[in-house]
């Protein structure tokens, strides 16, 4: 009897005890893809010896997994694109505040959560792309103006299901009010030259091929396509320079509520805001570093400088649901 119990215990130990976590590792759940995060994590491991383990997936499932794991958490950090997603994570109560003088110094406050639960790491502008063959830059002015009649049948958009468009709409509601924004969205939908696309690259390709003349895209997609096709007949335009500025969103990282290695995780985030990490992190995806002391890559700098919207990016999250409902009503699929 005793022997059997001992055997059972030994068996149980071998089965259950395998999950003991080492202190010199950090675990990240990321919706930023492998090739855009691995270089940074590899650099950190080379520098400090701390291992960074990660899995990639879409935001919503990752957040649900963190929530489900609860106190038995595996993940220390949640890395996502779009402030809207980080705000949602905050609302779900799966993050915890962490203060750090290093992060406060490196990242401007508009790109951080007001409750200190997450910080931005890189910035991307969602801006207007136009055909150099058929549009003069003087014809362009603001996002709102793309709803005017003279753009009828000339506009290309990505699907409203993408959070980038939801965040853009959310900030427009914040600035212009709901009624005016809905009118603008209806104008955009009316001006579409073809059904909305499933990604930004397709929008740029359509402008290049002559299916439409203008579109709204994230800057790094332009960077990627331009690298492949240097003779692209498409350029970027910075709208709303006379008023609020270009819509800027971010890729950011938050500390999970029950992070098993909170100190190691914090150290990693702090390092990720330093110039060394910032230029790798933004560089691999042709984004703008969130740390203003770090210059963007030459390619990114060649698009010209612009005035960015100073609205705290959290607004995108707060008004996301409202934005989706409005886009649905306007018929933006």
């Amino acid at each position: 009897m005793l022997a059997r119990k001992r055997l059972l215990t030994a068996l149980a130990l071998t089965v259950f005890a395998s999950g003991v976590s080492a202190a010199d590792e950090v675990v990240v759940y990321s919706s930023r893809i492998d090739e855009l995060i691995k270089p940074v994590f590899d650099a950190y491991t080379a520098k400090t010896g701390v291992k960074v383990k990660f899995i990639t997936d879409k935001e919503a499932p990752l957040m649900q997994r963190i929530k489900a794991e609860g106190q038995n958490a595996t993940a220390d950090l949640l890395l996502t694109v779009d402030a809207g997603n980080l705000w949602q994570a905050e609302q779900m109560g799966i993050l915890q505040p962490f203060t750090s003088a290093v992060i406060d110094k490196n990242i401007p406050s508009q790109y951080r959560s007001s409750s200190h639960e997450w910080t931005g790491l890189s910035l991307r502008a969602r801006t207007i792309a136009y055909s150099t063959d058929r549009v003069k830059p003087e014809e362009l002015s603001t996002y709102e103006a793309l709803a005017d009649k003279n753009w009828e049948g000339r506009l290309c958009l990505r699907t409203a299901k993408k959070v980038y468009n939801q965040s853009l709409t959310a900030t427009m509601i914040e600035v212009n009010g709901a009624e005016k924004t809905e009118e603008i969205l209806k104008g955009w939908v009316n001006n579409l030259s073809t059904d909305v696309f499933s990604d930004d690259i397709a929008v740029l390709e359509a402008i290049n091929a002559g299916q439409c003349d203008v579109g709204i895209v994230n800057t790094y997609y332009y960077g990627r396509l331009h690298k492949q096709k240097p003779d692209l007949a498409v350029k970027l335009f910075w709208p709303n320079q006379a008023d609020r500025g270009v819509h800027v969103n971010l890729s950011g990282i938050g500390l999970t509520k029950y992070a098993p290695h909170p100190e190691a995780a914090k150290a990693l985030v702090e390092w990720m805001t330093t110039p060394e990490a910032q230029s790798i992190f933004a560089g691999v995806n042709q984004e703008f570093p969130a740390n203003p002391s770090v210059a963007p890559s030459p390619e990114v700098a060649s698009w010209g400088s612009f005035k960015a919207d100073a609205l705290p990016v959290e607004v995108a999250g707060k008004r996301q649901a409202e934005a989706i409902r409005m886009m649905d009503r306007a018929g933006w699929n």
Binding site: G19, E59, Q64, K161, S198
Partner: protein, 566 residues
């Protein structure tokens, strides 16, 4: 012209027992023997019920704001789209699958011998891959239209690719192999005697097809169409490339946009209800039609000549070209332009992980499905039948919804069962299920059990009860009966089932993404990462690798699963 007449004539053994009416037969069967199946079947059903109950629990609170918004602005359009898609794909896969299976299994025409297995190859291409290849190739900015514009000028307007018709065609090309594979096996198993008897009795080939072959193959065709339609209902990847909004789109939108998982789960459970009705309908329509087994046909029944032969070759070639050759060529072109620069030593790991997961999942899923199929045959009590139907439901749910339900269920088990038990035994008190390989394999099991069950049930149904009875009367029973009598007869069906599950697991994305252990990236994960960034050309590398990895078993197994000599 009744099937049973011929079946009984061909049978060397009397089987008066099996001809007794069902309710009388049940009187002869010992109930304790039937009950032996209960625990096994119920455990399997519970495994599937666990994630499904997560869906049901979501009804505890209803977010009226989201519901009324969806109802006012989205539902009429989404339901209309979904219905169009289901009807279009359903009709399309039936026409394509049955006509191709008929031609390759009963006729002889130039190229038949290789088209016979080649027509199965499109099964190795995931729906989302075919979708992005077609859109990339044929959309306005794609190479085809660009070339046409260069020839004929900007004024040229072609039919839109990203349209209802486009998405239906792509899904038909991707899902017809389900119908093809199952009806081909059924046609081959019908044997020579039946169709020749039909001919002797003065039936034309068409009449023989309509009045003999088709009715007998109906269960198999029905099972194939049901699989194709469940895939269609659950598909999110392909329809989102086309930006074609279906009911499943609403589920994802509610979760990813409104972050209301409970509303998404409510929508998903409604979808499940529809699928249950469809499956029930399919079972009912199948009715009393019974398949029989005979010796496989040795030579072709119809030797097509002249224009008929060319038409047959042309039809098969057309489908093969559209569903396989053209997409593969486009992938190869993209690979050469962009994908090859990403190729590094990490691909070895990706391929090995993919193969391991596919192989293990196929093994486990087929074994479990075999248990279910036997249980339903040996003990068709209402309880067993309900349990088996329940276990088959996992396939119909959109992958992500099922994945998250399984994940929630496992984390619940971890919290309530694994951790307390391990703590009590002096262990570390750590979660064991979530993030482990076994959890991922269990998730595959729940999702794909229906895929394995269909072919197994069909081939089991073709074994007349008289056969094992005779074996028993000769003193063969237990494991020996299974290995000596059943398994050889079930081999084609088992291989088909294993092939379907293996390839489906290779292509599976949401559960793999959400539940894979650290470092267990697969080819599908890489495709997800590339396509989520709109990098279709670069996704060619993992996509091409995935198709090639999936091809080997497809070729190998299709040739062994059921073939005609000569």
């Amino acid at each position: 012209m009744e099937a049973a007449v011929f079946a009984s004539r061909a049978s060397p053994l009397p089987h008066s027992f099996s001809r007794l009416p069902m309710h009388l037969r049940e009187l002869f069967v010992a109930h304790p023997a039937q009950r032996r199946w209960y625990p096994l079947v119920f455990v399997i059903a519970a495994l599937v019920l666990l994630p499904l109950s997560v869906l049901l629990l979501s009804w505890q609170s209803i977010d009226t704001q989201i519901w009324s918004h969806l109802w006012d602005t989205q539902m009429p359009r989404l339901l209309g789209n979904t219905l169009t898609l289901i009807v279009g794909v359903g009709v399309g896969v039936t026409l394509l699958g049955v006509s191709l299976a008929w031609l390759t299994s009963l006729c002889e025409f130039p190229g038949r011998r290789w088209l016979d297995w080649a027509l199965m190859l499109p099964f190795a291409i995931p729906a989302y891959v075919l979708a992005f290849v077609f859109v990339g190739l044929l959309d306005f900015a794609g190479p085809v239209q660009t070339l046409l514009r260069e020839w004929f000028g900007m004024g040229l307007r072609l039919p839109r690719v990203r349209s209802t018709g486009g998405v239906i065609i792509v899904l038909i090309l991707v899902f017809y192999p389900y119908v093809y594979l199952l009806s081909r096996t059924a046609f081959l198993a019908q044997g020579k005697g039946l169709m020749e008897a039909a001919r002797v009795l003065g039936q034309s080939p068409w009449q023989a097809f309509w009045r003999v072959a088709l009715p007998m193959a109906r269960p198999a065709i029905g099972a194939g169409v049901a699989l194709a339609l469940m895939e269609t209902l659950a598909d999110f990847g392909a329809v989102s490339v086309f930006n074609f909004d279906t009911f499943t789109t609403a589920i994802y939108k509610t979760w990813y946009g409104f972050f209301s998982l409970s509303t998404a789960a409510q929508l998903a459970s409604l979808l499940l209800l529809v699928v249950m009705l469809v499956l029930y309908g399919e079972r009912r329509a199948r009715g009393a039609s019974r398949a029989s087994n005979e010796r496989p046909r040795v030579s072709a029944l119809y030797h097509l000549r002249g224009p008929k032969a060319w038409l047959a070759s042309g039809w098969c070639l057309l489908v093969f070209a559209c569903a396989f050759v053209i997409p593969m060529l486009q992938l190869v072109v993209w690979f050469w332009q962009r994908g090859r620069f990403d190729l590094d030593e990490r691909y070895t790991g990706l391929i090995l992980h993919t193969l391991y997961l596919g192989g293990m999942a196929a093994l486990i899923t087929v074994s479990v499905a075999l248990v279910l199929a036997f249980a339903r045959r040996q003990a068709p009590t209402p309880a067993i039948r309900a349990g088996v139907s329940l276990a088959n439901l996992g396939y119909a749910l959109p992958g992500s919804v099922l994945a998250v339900s399984i994940m929630l269920a496992f984390s619940y088990l971890d919290r309530e069962l694994v951790i307390p038990v391990s703590g009590w035994l002096g262990g570390a008190g750590k979660p064991l299920l979530l993030g482990s390989l076994s959890a991922l394999l269990l998730a595959y099991l729940v999702r794909f059990i229906a895929v394995a069950y269909g072919p197994l049930e069909n081939s089991l149904a073709r074994i007349r009860p008289s056969l094992p009875e005779a074996a028993r009367s000769l003193g063969v029973s237990g494991p020996r009966l299974f290995f000596k009598v059943y398994l050889p007869l079930l081999l084609p069906g088992t291989l088909s089932a294993a092939l379907l599950v293996f390839v489906d697991v290779l292509k599976e994305m949401p559960a793999t993404l959400l539940m894979r252990p650290f470092g267990w990236d697969t080819l599908a994960v890489r495709i997800f990462e590339m396509t989520s960034e709109g990098e279709w050309a670069r996704a060619s590398l993992p996509a091409l690798t995935l198709v090639l990895v999936g091809l080997l078993p497809v070729i190998g197994l299709i040739r062994r699963s059921a073939h005609r000599i000569g």
